[in-house]
């Protein structure tokens, strides 16, 4: 089974866009069985309608889609209420935080109530990681150490520095925090993914494309060509995502 653990639905303030029909068509073309949808940040900045859009897409394609609830921690109590609604009413399988697009630091105090309550729901927290100013591996690491019972999923392998400057700390972060898994999308260097899966834990890496930010076919090829065994790849393709998001 192939699960794309991160696909955006909607038309983003930041210029990228993807409709439900486009998502399903691409999944069919590429042989992807399931996808986990995350709402984009819309032009009006309001996440509530986007969370409902994702929930409606999941409801109409329950066998193929799951959905994350996205909130802006700067909305404080409003963000907590929106997250609770996502879990209580919309069937969200996890929380999505995007420090890069919402402009907060991943380990800021404003994030803590959200993570704490997501943990009380037993829901994982996916974070757009690897952006040096707001979601540096050390910041994700700091957050994950403070909430050892919460499962975190770091996008971009936790590091997207094309100089390799974050490779060392991203690995240390993953080694130190058993509650962090990483997504494959956009990661700098395939040997990083191979080493994490082979040397740190094959259950720690999830196939994800972050389409349409990244190219879904290209991101699949990243996993398909990885120098890993078939059984390791089976975990990356789907069973690791199921273990985290269907838990």
């Amino acid at each position: 089974m192939i699960i794309d653990a991160h696909v955006y639905l909607g038309s983003s303030l930041f210029g990228y866009a993807q409709s439900l029909e486009e998502i399903l068509t691409s999944m069919d073309r590429l042989g992807i069985d399931k996808a986990i949808l995350a709402p984009v940040k819309p032009r009006d900045y309001h996440f509530a309608p986007m969370n409902e859009l994702v929930a409606a897409a999941v409801k109409s394609n329950a066998d193929r889609l799951m959905g994350l609830c996205r909130v802006d921690p700067w909305q404080a109590e409003g963000a907590v209420a929106e997250m609770r609604k996502g879990f209580d009413e919309l069937g969200a399988c996890g929380l999505y935080l995007d420090p890069w697009e919402e402009g907060f630091q991943a380990n800021d105090d404003i994030v803590l109530p959200l993570v704490e309550q997501a943990g009380q729901y037993g829901k994982p927290v996916a974070i757009n990681a690897g952006h040096a100013r707001v979601s540096h591996p050390t910041q994700i690491w700091d957050l994950a150490r403070r909430f050892p019972d919460v499962q975190f999923v770091a996008c971009n392998g936790g590091q997207i520095n094309i100089c390799g400057l974050l490779l060392f700390e991203a690995r240390r972060m993953i080694e130190d925090c058993p509650n962090i898994a990483i997504q494959t999308a956009g990661t700098y260097r395939e040997d990083f993914l191979e080493e994490i899966a082979s040397e740190v834990g094959e259950e720690r890496v999830l196939f994800a494309s972050r389409s349409p930010v990244y190219d879904q076919e290209f991101e699949m090829t990243r996993v398909r060509l990885a120098h890993l065994s078939d059984s390791q790849k089976d975990k990356l393709w789907g069973s690791n995502a199921l273990a985290i998001f269907e838990a």
Binding site: R189, D191, D215, F218
Partner: protein, 248 residues
């Protein structure tokens, strides 16, 4: 025919002996690769010699670039001349994030001008970090119009649009496709600056050359453009390199 214009060998920090890139080249169907170390001569003692030994071991597969710290002045210049004249290297690699030399700083401009005397291309690490941004490398291209300046990684994750605009503005600049995760950026680069100024590159062995080849194919280039990106463009650049520095 595929030539990978940006790969690495090293034994001083990250351990990547030449056999690693050769194995990945064989997997990917790559004929030749340009190699360089991760560290700078003379700061990393023996690094140029390590590259030279790799080329000597695989002369039909590997092409050497000299990675040098411009701040080392006359010593850096002597090492570059030796690399070209004695070792038969074909280019200069500069990594401003490592050396902290601004791409348009005086010491960098001096060694770029030396490389130009041999028609040797100058490959910059060009990504998202300060000192390596496309608009910083552009200042070197402007000061040295006679030089061939390659923007390695074509600006990285967040600056590829700047890299293409720099390439549009400066005809002496060239883009390499390595490591950035956007096939469509390659398509745009070819459309806007032409395939003669876009080079297939992987940044292997850390980045998988097979995946990097697939990325170029996903750009859906015209066959003649894809051929240029995969080998003709870098061949044209390397064919101009001389071993005797006879340009004024």
């Amino acid at each position: 025919m595929i030539i990978d214009s940006h790969t690495h060998v090293d034994k001083f920090g990250w351990y990547d002996p030449p056999e690693t890139i050769i194995r990945l080249m064989d997997e990917a169907g790559i004929d030749k690769s340009v190699i360089m170390t991760y560290g700078d001569a003379p700061d990393v003692e023996g690094s140029l010699e390590y590259t030279a030994e790799a080329v000597e071991k695989y002369p039909d597969r590997l092409i050497g670039y000299a990675r040098i710290n411009p701040r080392r002045g006359d010593e850096a210049h002597r090492l570059f001349e030796k690399a070209i004249e004695e070792y038969g290297f074909k280019g200069l690699k500069l990594h401003p994030v490592g050396t902290l030399c601004h791409p348009a700083g005086p010491e960098t401009i001096e060694i770029i001008r030396l490389a130009s005397r041999y028609n040797a291309p100058v490959l910059f690490h060009c990504g998202d970090e300060e000192l390596s941004l496309p608009l910083q490398v552009a200042q070197a291209a402007e000061e040295c119009p006679e030089a061939t300046i390659i923007l390695g990684h074509m600006g990285g994750y967040f600056h590829w649009k700047d890299a293409i605009r720099v390439a549009e503005a400066y005809p002496n600049t060239v883009l390499d496709t390595s490591a950035l995760p956007y096939p469509q950026a390659i398509a745009q680069a070819v459309e806007r600056v032409g395939s003669a100024r876009v080079l297939y590159a992987s940044d292997g062995p850390g980045c998988d050359p097979r995946l990097e080849v697939h990325k170029v194919r996903l750009a859906n280039l015209a066959p003649e453009d894809e051929e240029a990106v995969f080998h003709r463009s870098i061949e044209a650049i390397l064919d101009r390199v001389t071993t005797h520095g006879d340009r004024p």
